[in-house]
Amino acid sequence: MTSSWTSSGSSPNAAEGQRATIRPRLRLSTGVGADALTEPTCSPTPTGAQVVFRAEQLAVSYGAKRAVEDINIDIHRNEATAFIGPSGCGKTTVLRCLNRMNDSIPTFALDGKLLYHGHDLYGPHVNRVEVRRRIGMVFQKPNPFPKSIFDNVAWAPRNLGMKDDLGGRVERALRAAALWDEVKDRLRASALGLSGGQQQRLCIARAVAIEPDVLLLDEPASALDPIATASIEDLIHRLKDRYTIVIVTHNMQQAMRVADRTAFFSLDEHRVGTLIEYDRTETIFSRPADPRTRDYITGRFG
């Protein structure tokens, strides 16, 4: 079957393949690709929610060194999922696997399976540019481009050929990131003049401007003060109606406040990062099943 985020050349369907070959990038913006999000390939879970990501025995190595192993997890649609755990246990590594941001590391190797809406994310014909267009990411440190506020948000839509009503699209993205009121009078000013919290919300606006399916947030508030953090957390609450959110955080209160489900990562007996426990957030923080989780959340370790 043809998934719209695999590269065009691999398509077994000739007509489909040809269309994609001619204007592969434009095809995205026409919304044809959006069908994949609602394709019935999403496996229903006992609770009835759709599974966006499914990792099966996922393991990552950098050269000879194994970074994480034994990751089995289902991430559900329109929920916020938090990854918590001590430093160096592979939370960010797993997060970056989800949109293939690790690919540029030469020694990176992935074992096991990582499915996105039922498709193998690391399959032979998957186009990683396409993956990242659907699975957006916001980084720990705000990284706006040295351009104007408007151009920061409009950059990716322009690349993808979403040129109709660009101003409206930028406004919607900035509103979605709760930044519009603060910047609407200075859209042409440099993004580097914004405060750290504003820059981070601009990065979120930049990511949602191309209407991704998933937003990955890698400790998005760790460089921000409490007020800016609170506004980012509010924002996550509102964004999860439209997007599936995965957030890495060091801050357990933050996980409690924003996440529907929480995954606790830690080092296993071989000093390799792994997933210890994954459940609804209330359960993780009130009745954790694993003693290691209990030790971590009560502050006895980590």
Binding site: R133, F145, P146, N159
Partner: protein, 332 residues
């Protein structure tokens, strides 16, 4: 300051019998003070020498050119004829040759050099970059007279036999690609030799500039579903264009100043021709070619005047490169 530091260190070692010896301590401190003042004088001398050398060169060139300066004044730059036999001198044809060969070579070298810089900084596997990077720098280390020889024996015949006629027949409607010459010595060949000299400068400098782009910016662009080309255009070139322009200016400075290799392949005929395949001359190549055989005092003075024009051109290029990288480079 260094004196105090060392004595503090020494006295903290006072429990060691050898160093607690007072005379030895004093000797050390004395030595240290002497070394400090020697270094200060050396640095002062170095700084003064740079200034004095520049002043001396400018003075020598101006005084050498005084005869031509008083004869022609600034109009020398606009005079077209250069005929030592009849005693008429002007810089225009040489200025033209210099600018044509430099602009052509820098235009080609910018494309090549920036591409090499992008490859080395962003695309090549680390091991490939570790081999190719030094090779590019070695290209810059080839003596220009050697390149000139390669130009005479390899590039000029090749251009004559394989490039001039096809280019003329395809692009002949552009005046630059006029009728082929007969020997292969031309502005075109000189530009090609200059390309070989300028490419490593632009490649090495632009690579260093590209390496300064924070990886977060590149990752930010990649995470937005940008292709490699879009990442390079949007996150790399847009933040480094001033550095790339400065690199091109420095390459341009190298191209206008080159004398020997150009003399070897340009044909040494002082004329203004729109045809790149016609022989020409540049400021540097004419001086290199005629300076040892002047026919009159005015001839020598006029060549000094050419040197002055070249000097001003070089200084202006360098100052412009500094201005561009300083005033547009820090703006992020």
């Amino acid at each position: 300051m260094p004196v105090r530091l060392l004595s503090a260190r020494v006295s903290s070692l006072a429990s060691f019998p050898q160093l607690s010896n007072r005379r030895q301590l004093e000797r050390l401190n004395r030595l240290d003070a002497r070394a400090g003042s020697a270094l200060r004088w050396l640095a002062l001398f170095g700084g003064a020498a740079v200034f004095l050398a520049l002043m001396a060169i400018v003075y020598q060139v101006i005084s050498g050119a005084s005869l031509a300066l008083s004869r022609y004044g600034i109009s020398f730059v606009g005079r077209r004829q250069w005929s030592p036999a009849v005693g008429r001198f002007g810089a225009l044809a040489l200025l033209y040759g210099t600018l044509v060969t430099s602009v052509c070579s820098v235009a080609v070298a910018t494309v090549l050099g920036v591409a090499i810089g992008l490859f080395l900084s962003l695309m090549a596997p680390r091991r490939v970059a570790a081999v190719v990077g030094p090779l590019v720098e070695m290209l810059a280390a080839i003596p220009s007279v050697v390149l000139g020889l390669v130009g005479i024996y390899l590039i000029a015949p090749f251009v004559l036999n394989n490039i001039e006629a096809p280019l003329h027949s395809v692009l002949g409607f552009i005046p630059l690609f006029g009728p082929p010459g007969t020997v292969g010595n031309s502005d075109f060949t000189a530009s090609l030799v200059l390309v070989i000299m300028v490419v490593p400068i632009i490649a090495a400098l632009s690579r260093d500039v590209f390496l300064t782009v924070p990886s977060e910016l590149r990752e930010g662009a990649e995470a937005l579903g940008a292709t490699r080309l879009e990442v390079i255009r949007g996150a790399v070139l847009s933040t480094t264009h001033s550095g790339v322009i400065a690199a091109c200016m420095l390459g341009f400075g190298r191209a206008i100043g080159e004398a020997i290799a150009v003399t070897q392949v340009i044909g040494n005929i002082t004329q203004i021709s729109h045809n790149l395949f016609a022989p020409g001359d540049t400021l540097g190549s004419l001086i290199a070619n005629q300076f040892l055989t002047p026919v009159s005092a005015l001839h020598t003075a006029s060549m000094f005047y050419l040197a002055l024009v070249l000097l001003v051109l070089e200084l202006a290029t360098m100052l412009l490169a500094r201005y561009v990288s300083r005033h547009f480079g820090s703006r992020r």
